[in-house]
Amino acid sequence: MGFENFGTVTFTTEAKTADFINYLGAGKVMATRCKKCGATYFPPRLDCPTCLSSEVEWFEVAGKGKLRSYTRVNYGPSGFEADAPYILALGEFDGVQILARLSRDIGENDIEVGMSLKVSPLKLPEGRLAYEFRRA
């Protein structure tokens, strides 16, 4: 399994981080840490952008994060036409920052900058996978 089952896309990529999707299927949102220089990355990078080493390891983004900013998409791009409107948010977690959809369980009036979030795998129709922010 690889990127063909990830998110909502109009073009399917092939990338070295395809294991990310397998982890999602197993219920985990993963990032990478460089074994050589310690730099952490989300989205995951199998070759470290900081020191260019290929010795990286996966770790789960399991802790609580904070909402840094958010916005509303009223006009969805290709593949998202039926989803709009939806909320996109930036979340700060231990060592990484993540952009993701905010769960529809959180009403727009209840969103607050600084609120606690977790990032969780999301099952979409037809076996597709993504991740989203939920209340922590």
């Binding site: 909502t8 900013s69 009223n74 290709s78 930036l90 920052q97 952009l99 993504a130």
Partner: protein
Amino acid sequence: MPERNVCLIGGGMSSWGVREASIIDMAQEAAKECFDDVPALKKEAIDGLLFASSYCGRSAFQVNIAPVIAERIGVKPTSMCTRLDTLCAGGSAGVILATGLIRSGMADVVMVAGGEKLYTPQRWETYYSEMASIDHDWDGAQGMGLPPPFFSMTAKEHMKRYGTTKEQLSAVSVKNRRNGSTNPKAQFQKEVTLEEVMSARPIVPPLSLFDCTPITDGCAAVILTYEEKAKELSDRPLVYVRGTAQVSLHSMSMNWPGEHLGDWVHLRTAAKRAYEMARVGPDDIDVAQTHDCFTISEIIEMEELGFCKKGEGGPFVESGRSDFGGKIPVNTDGGLLSCGHPFGATGIRQAREILHQLQGRAIRQVEGAEIGLTHNLSGLNVEHTILIYGREP
């Protein structure tokens, strides 16, 4: 060969807006205006053609477009003929590269052209694959697509931290639409009132209709050459390329390089480098064309380019200090908000307006302008590009 001084000598534009014309038709219109602008310039003298376009592969279904355009405008490049893409800054990147080619002696007379055909006969196709202009696999997979949602976050952050108001955002639109109202090339040639801007329908709050640049078809072209050749081809005052910079510090939302979304460190870095290369500072700039893709963008650009202090961009634009008669007139031809934004053409449109300003032949002339600046922001604020031009080398 010793380094040569490089001059901008002429420019042209197709009309911009919703066009029943192909990108190649419009490139030809813009190129023709260049030749009309510099009558002594013969087609045979052009040895380089750079064409900036991001979406021609998608919306015009034409890749390797530079040779197609060369043929249509009747030039036969012998030093360089290529397309380039840095989205909203493609035209400015072309001017920077042409400057390097000419300065080093690798080319003598270069046409830098650019443009987009974004409206398509099947309207559902129009500009609907914008996820291609960000990190598609990750930001795109979350449904981050067209720019307004991203810039609404930026506006909210600036309003929260610095007290910037919706009235101040609107002041940018009122000024630029007034400047564009006398520009025959602009997509919108009609002024808007503060009340109209304030009450327009929301796009993504706090941004409403007149806070956002439209979707535009159009092309533009300019001619660059070395100083001696410029004197040979034109009797007008010489306009030199003095300083350039293109700074790229990240490519996606989660790698944002600033302290917060209203902190544009990549623009500050570009400005510092361009000012140093041009041996000038922000107070020396007489006229500027900055990237008003959204009203909030122009406000933050005033701060990061050093025209006012950080956080004071809102009062700066509201009090008229970026207008004629103020500290520095900005977007004198109407900017993106009036002219529209066919990505690869925008930096070239700005270069042409600075050329006209420094030669004293702009439609809305800044009296005695000697040093001018252009600025572009690319993509979801991933890159900043600056050029500084002057009447002296």
